[in-house]
């Protein structure tokens, strides 16, 4: 079991309270995933040529000022971090690839959670409702967001094993289910140059999407490839710079509910996580069909 929540703001009012709404959704999914929680929030796009990096340090007294000073020396500008619990978000005045390479070289002790123009990822082991408080989600605004609550079934409970998993610039994946061919697929992807940081099955699905996108597939093709190349159970939610996508495996044992009003589009493992949203009782609610891709992006809504 695990819990997934996704929220896409169609009105400014929902965008202003995006973090508060997402936090309420995640707290409803506490008992679907009491082991860990995580969110990907899309907000505050950086200027062209710059990039945004979310970093995690396991050291609670980590001095983020050292990273800031190093970045300021290596690149232009004054990258003051926004620190949230164990994470910090930096806006770097450099293309994503250069920023990431510099961080890997100079701060191998940090884990890069996400890189892109708008995405920020925060995740941590522990009860989701505690996570919502520690990371102060209630004051976060944004255009859309995904969240996950984890009940581990096949690998350890750590921050690194938590969802969302980054799958490329501004892309992330959350997963409810379990994959059975992830060891073989991980070896195949490693031969293609994809690197993995954990033994987690979802990280393999994320790596698969990264590889397909790198090879030229668009998001739709990459996700539809999952239906052929992944063996196991999954309900996936994928965050993109413009929105999110939902896909269930053909057996569709893992639950998913979609709902839409004039103000928002929401996706969740269960309706009770949607019931906390304003106007939920009058929303159009439905269950996504198996092996069918659903996509919401700003241009389409």
């Amino acid at each position: 079991m695990c819990g997934i929540a996704g929220l896409f703001a169609k009105s400014p009012g929902v965008a202003e309270q995006l973090g508060e709404h997402l936090g309420a959704m995640l707290s409803q999914l506490n008992d679907r995933g009491p082991d860990s929680a995580g969110v990907a929030i899309y907000r505050d796009p950086v200027p062209a040529g710059a990039s945004k990096v979310s970093l995690f340090s396991p050291d609670p007294r980590y001095e983020w000022g050292r990273v800031r000073d190093g970045l300021a020396g290596a690149f232009d500008g004054d990258p003051e971090p926004e620190v949230r619990a164990s994470h910090a978000v930096f806006v770097v005045d450099a293309e994503a690839e250069r920023a990431e390479a510099w961080l890997r070289e100079h701060h191998p002790e940090l884990r890069i959670m996400s890189v892109g123009e708008t995405i920020e990822i925060f995740k941590e082991a522990g009860l989701p409702s505690d996570f919502v408080r520690r990371f102060a989600l209630e004051d976060v605004q944004g255009s859309h967001a995904l969240g996950h609550t984890r009940m581990a079934t096949e690998s350890r409970v750590t921050t690194q094993h938590s969802h969302p998993f980054s799958t490329g610039l501004d892309l992330c994946l959350v997963h409810n289910g379990s994959l059975s061919n992830h060891n073989r697929l991980r070896r195949e992807l490693q031969r293609e140059g994809v690197t993995f940081q954990t033994d987690n099955d979802t990280e393999v699905a994320a790596g698969y999407l990264t590889w397909r996108l790198r090879e030229g597939a668009d998001l739709r093709e990459a996700l539809e490839g999952c239906l052929r190349d992944l063996d196991g159970f999954f309900t996936f939610a994928v965050g993109t710079a413009d929105g999110f996508a939902v896909l269930r495996d053909p057996i569709a044992c893992k639950p998913a509910v979609l709902a839409e009003t004039d103000d928002w589009v929401a996706m969740a493992s269960e309706y009770r996580a949607i019931a906390v949203l304003p106007g939920a009782e009058d929303a159009n609610v439905w269950e996504p069909a198996p092996a069918t891709l659903y996509v919401w992006e700003r241009a389409l809504v």
Partner: protein, 237 residues
């Protein structure tokens, strides 16, 4: 003209009342003849296990969407959900009725032994999985693998059925009015005889559905080929 007074309706608001208290009060009502027979539950908010384990001829109306296993193990009670249901509505129902005005998620009516489950909208996958005597009427369509391993009872679908309808069916009567995407292992189409047409009309009437032509239904059931192991198939294993 003599007027009968409306029986009292006990209203329980799940926004303020814990779910366990609601279910405990419904269970206690079965033991106390003077307790209210009609109940109304508001603000279910997608909670799981609303009105489960009832064992008395109560009438329970639920105003809103519910989570998993609503009205599970029902005996004698008439539960009506004015909204959608999550996984496993009316699972293992023994008798009574459960009516869903909206849609139902997967495994609706699973393992039901008796009573009537009506879903006015669509039901998802595995509707009536392992049904053992319950009658299920779906005004809309059902998803894949409905009536999987069905043993007894009747599933009537006014719309379409997804892939692998009646897979590994033992017994049970399956009726579908619309398109069937595919029949599961050992499930075959069977002749509609007069008694089956009567059965369709009876189920529609009991479900309160009067806008569907009973003449359009087709019948599916067990070929009974999987009942016994055949030595000729030994090479398959």
């Amino acid at each position: 003209m003599a007027t009968e007074t409306e029986p009292a309706v006990e209203v329980v608001d799940l926004e303020h009342t814990p779910l366990r208290e609601l279910n405990a009060r419904l269970h206690a009502a079965a033991q106390e003849p003077d307790s209210p027979r009609r109940w109304r539950v508001s603000n279910p908010g997608g909670r799981h296990a609303v009105a489960v384990g009832l064992d008395a001829p109560l009438e329970v109306d639920v105003d809103g969407h519910v989570g998993y296993y609503c009205a599970g193990m029902n005996q004698h009670a008439a539960v009506r959900v004015h909204g959608n249901c999550g996984v496993g509505v009316a699972e293992n129902m023994m008798s009574g009725s459960v009516i869903v005005e909206g849609t139902a998620s997967q495994s609706a009516g699973a393992t039901g032994r008796g009573g009537l489950l009506v879903i006015r909208g669509d039901a998802s996958s595995r509707c009536g999985i392992s049904m053992k005597g319950v009658d299920i009427v779906v005004r809309g369509s059902v998803g894949h693998m409905s009536a999987f391993m069905a043993q007894k009872g009747r599933l009537l679908v006014c719309g379409d059925a997804g892939e692998a309808l009646g897979d590994s069916i033992y017994e049970a009567q399956l009726y579908a009015n619309g398109a069937v995407a595919g029949l599961g292992s050992d499930c075959i189409e069977k002749e509609m005889r007069a008694e089956h047409a009567a059965e369709v009309s009876e189920l529609l009437a009991r479900a309160g559905i009067d806008d569907v032509d009973p003449g359009g239904f087709r019948r599916y059931g067990s070929a009974r080929e999987l009942y016994n192991f055949k030595v000729d198939d030994a090479g398959e294993f």
